[in-house]
Symmetry: C2
């Protein structure tokens, strides 16, 4: 069908002025008197809707007057600039056709709905201002990430979702099976016989593509992953989902310093891209969701991130122990309250915390010369806390093997990973960015359920 997107009209209004246009979209409101009426139409291509003016010259004036909120309509008319009005232009309708009616009980009437209520109608909520803005920004944010890496010749790698291994031993995992649970095949020992399962063994949903990603970094030098990741944690918070997307770049011939530079430029790039490509949405978030958002984001783009070692951070934080539920001391893991204090109160901007005690970090991180800490880095941002976690990887075969044995991991499971240190090992580093946390950070939205189209959390797997 030959329709003009409302986005095009807003972006090139002079081109369309006084010309006939035809648009299709959904009715946000409809009010009228005896002789004329106004319909506000949104077609989803642009955050702002367009106002359609219709008069009793229309053959179907009475019918148009009764169009319900939510209906899909097609409007042919003349675009008229209205420099003195609130909206920059309107369409004076020559023809209004109902494409699909709506009903008076349409769940999204023109009034404020709570986010809680809107979560119960996840198939309709993208038709509201807030969620239209959220999910367009989510889309732009995803694209900005691809664009950033592709412009730098990184290779995008699809690491597997179903896996026979447990990357970090971290996080509870979802099992994947085709066995009939009501009629499980058993071995002679009375255990489930996984040799009858689809993959001939037990399998899970991945918690990270990093180890697979590393194998490709040792071939392509610079790679990134961008795909779904799963955690079967029974945590019902505003920041945890069972299914979320993650970006995991991995760079070879690179150390922790290169890793931090990459993370910083990526975040700045993504913020700049979204500010530039969704100005209307970002102004909306700034006005109605998170006052000060725009200032904060511009501040991030324009300034260097702060840097502090874990040991220094503990020194600083321990002077404020009276403010924390969990008191800090060297060796402890940082809680969100500590992370936020550092980035919000001490530095008032994003901060990289580096060189954590090896005991609280994963086995694959490179041991520093002190023998106590590893070349890990977390990036903390105001309002969120940790948004990125990364490290330089242990590239020494013997040290890695020792660590695997020390932790009681299976050497056999990690043979492929050890191979990377046997055949042309190279310094390399990478990080993981939780995509939803990134979208929360960019929009100011406070609940991860409100930045995922169809969120999956404990006891919740609707639609």
């Amino acid at each position: 069908m030959e329709l003009t997107n409302i986005r095009e009209i807003f972006r090139n209004k002079d081109k369309f002025a006084d010309k006939e246009v035809t648009i299709g979209g959904w009715v946000r409101s409809n009010r009228n008197s005896k002789n004329f009426g106004f319909i506000v139409v949104n077609d989803g291509t642009f955050f702002e809707p367009i106002q359609v003016v219709y008069g009793n010259g229309l053959d179907n004036y009475d019918e148009v007057g009764k169009i319900n909120v939510g209906a899909a309509i097609i409007v042919r008319g003349t675009l008229v600039l209205t420099p003195d009005a609130k909206q920059p232009f309107e369409i004076q309708a020559a023809e209004v056709t109902v494409e699909g009616a709506s009903t008076p009980d349409y769940p999204l009437q023109k009034k404020r709905h709570t986010f809680e209520y809107l979560r119960t109608i996840s198939h309709l909520r993208p038709r509201t201002n807030t969620f239209e803005a959220v999910f367009r920004v989510r889309s732009l944010c995803a694209y900005a990430i691809h664009k950033f890496f592709q412009e730098r010749d990184f290779v995008y790698v699809h690491t597997p979702l179903i896996t026979g291994s447990d990357c970090e031993g971290a996080g509870e995992m979802f099992q994947v099976t085709t066995l009939d649970l009501n009629n499980l095949p058993m071995t002679e020992e009375g255990k489930v016989d996984f040799s009858k399962d689809f993959f001939n063994k037990p399998t899970n949903l991945t918690v990270s593509g990093q180890l697979n990603g590393e194998t490709y970094a040792m071939a392509f030098k610079n790679i990134y992953t961008f795909g779904p990741t799963f955690r079967a944690e029974n945590s019902n918070t505003t920041r945890h989902a069972a299914e979320f997307w993650m970006i995991e770049p991995e760079i070879a011939f690179a150390d922790l310093e290169d890793d931090m530079m990459l993370a910083e430029s990526m975040l700045k790039y993504v913020i700049s891209y979204v500010l530039e490509n969704a100005p209307e949405e970002m102004a909306f978030f700034n006005n109605f969701v998170d006052k000060g958002l725009l200032d904060r984001l511009r501040n991030v783009v324009e300034n260097d991130f702060a840097r502090v070692t874990y040991t220094e951070a503990i020194d600083i934080l321990s002077k404020h122990n009276d403010k924390f539920d969990y008191k800090v001391s060297w060796g402890c893991d940082l809680q969100t309250e500590h992370e936020r204090y550092l980035t919000e109160q001490i530095y008032k901007r994003p901060v990289f915390v580096t060189d954590y005690p090896k005991e609280i970090k994963a086995f694959y991180m490179k041991l520093n010369d002190d023998g106590k800490t590893v070349a890990a880095v977390d990036c903390l941002v105001p309002g969120i806390g940790e948004i990125i976690g990364g490290s330089q990887r242990e590239d020494d075969y013997d040290k890695l093997l020792a660590r695997i044995n020390e932790l009681g991991l299976s050497e056999d499971d990690y043979k492929f990973y050890l191979d990377l240190r046997k055949y042309g090992s190279a310094r390399h580093a990478g990080f993981g960015l939780g995509f939803e946390r990134c979208v929360m950070y960019l929009t100011g939205m406070g609940n991860i359920r409100d930045v995922i189209p169809f969120p999956r959390t404990v006891n919740n797997c609707e639609l």
Copy 2:
């Protein structure tokens, strides 16, 4: 580390000529005599490797001479143009440092390996020419798809992977659970008690994001998904994987004609993008994997796709029934042999087949006026057969509900989907593109296992 990517040198050789450069990469070959030697280095950023010449002026000349294939090295030297040689330039080394050694039993010696063998070392195979080319093209192809849709203001939607529903009732599904299979909770009736499971009910891995995608198309007008999809089919073919990626655009205020135009321009765009951005890789495929590939792809870009209705196609094919294992007649589903005959023998280019009998297509497809066929379309391409399947969706509430009941589907499961036809229904259409089939088509690779970094197939879930 301040290294120059080999890609940059190849793309801007005059800029680097006679200058000092430092590169890091992996040794493909090393041969030498008493006074000088040659190392071929690939850093993964570019398909072509670079030749390093080293002389006995190096302090570590003997050590360099013994560097094994597969080792990671850093080379500092002068880039010298060699207009009379096979390669356009070489690096005359001032310094060669071993970053990580390799061993004489490195599995990828400079000789031909079978694809079958390389599948057993999926963590190393991207270091070979063929797989370096495949996975760079895969990355570019993914990006081209995003770029195509984003340039047209489509919103990228992440539809869920874990689902409580079965989109089309099509294909066997993987179950997802956190229950302890060796100790399952049971109800009083002796069945598995899924109320104890993570999501409080049985869940599966998605086979399609389409229905979820439709809900967003009715908000944003034009959307696309790009994510993993799963089939637990026990089919051990060269074209089926248990885990693969799919692209599913959905467009509102659009019919089957719009859908076909979108599919055709998307395929042409992606082919053009890859031809332009990976000329070396594509020439390699054309020479060593699939002679005639480039001609075929250019032919696709330059010509309109053919169009034929299912009914016409059956007429045509039935005249050649002697050539087929399965004889065709109206009402039968098209097999790969028929699809390939149509696109390869009859049309010799991509062809859209439209308007299939409703019995062999999914419940959500729009019924044509004849009452017998639906507004479905498959796009068939030479060498592959079906690469895209799409349809206009049934947008009439009553007709859709009747079809759901006719097929014995649960009205309650599809309440959200019916809502889209109740509140502002609009003509809409979409299609699904199997990403791996697209990569196979672009590269000429014949086995889906060779275009997925870590393929998952029956009895195979390695790394």
